[in-house]
Symmetry: C2
Subunit: 235 residues, 2 copies
Amino acid sequence: MTSSRKSLADTTAEGIIKYIIDNKLKEGAQLPNETTLSSLMGVGRSTLREAIRALVSRNILTVQQGSGIYVCHNTGVADDPLGFTFIENKEKLVSDLLEFRMMIEPRVAALAASKATPAQAGELLQLANRVAECYDAGTSHSEADALFHARIAEISGNVIVPQLEPLIMHAIDMFIDITHSELKEETIRTHMAIVNAMENNDAIAAQDAMTLHLIYNRDRLRKAREKSTPGNPAQ
Amino acid sequence: MTSSRKSLADTTAEGIIKYIIDNKLKEGAQLPNETTLSSLMGVGRSTLREAIRALVSRNILTVQQGSGIYVCHNTGVADDPLGFTFIENKEKLVSDLLEFRMMIEPRVAALAASKATPAQAGELLQLANRVAECYDAGTSHSEADALFHARIAEISGNVIVPQLEPLIMHAIDMFIDITHSELKEETIRTHMAIVNAMENNDAIAAQDAMTLHLIYNRDRLRKAREKSTPGNPAQ
DNA sequence: ATACAAAATTCATCTGATTTATTTACACTT
DNA sequence: AAGTGTAAATAAATCAGATGAATTTTGTAT
């Protein structure tokens, strides 16, 4: 039927993952070249390349022509791992992405606040300041903002959220442009409120601040969208 | 540095996606064979195959030797899209997956309850009954259970959750074995409570029932884990 | 020591050939 | 005429070789 037995390329991809784990290769480490690796795996070069391609699309490897094959830096985001490509209504997609963030981020912030050490709170302060600097410099702040939220996700201690959060924020970035300077004052203020909550290990305050932050963002985006397409409100 | 310009295989993969969208191919539709497709895309067979391999690993295509290339049935789950492979502490992974479910599912249930039509509530009743049948038949209920939760995710109207929920449940299934018949009575009872809440469009009741359900599940799993490894509690 | 050029390394891509799996067509049996 | 089994056609799987393009390394000249 649709079972499709495991192909040699798939088996090889698993073999490469096993190789990475067994040899304790870390981010950025270089793998043997194609010829060597294909001998190691006992397959032809084409097959090996297909396996590599699959791992590249899963954001596990990067390949650079003329240089080599490397273990991915985990900072990147795999290409549409959640299948947003085939969601037709992008307006609704963004709206739902924001709704989803509102489900998890306040809870994550609360978790993080209850666990944050003074050193971690200090890190967050630095990251929040960097976002503010981006606003002042007029450059895009989305990368710095993503780092701020990603660090909170890490501090929460949950290992799922740090994997997921970048995907969500990246997807939002892909479809909208949040360079509204209107958001500047509010964002800076709320980020500081969140940092304060972390310093005081105040879970409730962190959750509230994050909630307010997201509500504010969502409303700003909604207004911006209505302004840009006045006769075509989100369905 | 690590930029790595877009490869021809990646471009080809995008071309194939465009082909699927332009030709309005639906799930299960067959694509032209390798030779034809490589001509269409203007690349060699190897390059085309690498592109296909990338799309297969993203769960967009399936390939069957001797038969053809098909658009994926969306029911399947892409292979580890969130990178759980490299999380070393699987105990903590499962624990955090459950924690994550507790963040979103009650909210999703509440959303769904506020929107559910009588017909949709009826569907959920059928799905809940099917889970119960699996328990009675002694077969694995995880697939039926996943369908129940997936349908709730759909009814919620949020387009993110239905993409994500199967990943979470699939990952949990991969690492633990929930065939405890101890869960039978509780699961059936709670599923019915959720269905009732849907019928009455009672968001609060749905959220509460889901919360209780997940708490019960988590505690059961925790006890089972402690029993199986008494000297080695989760860190 | 530095800068530039040549060489070596490595991935990118194409093409052809052989093998394996699936489907289709056709003849044979009942 | 219906069903069955075999042969042919189709399509993907895999390997191997050759050429191209990007990067890194090496060597030489200043």
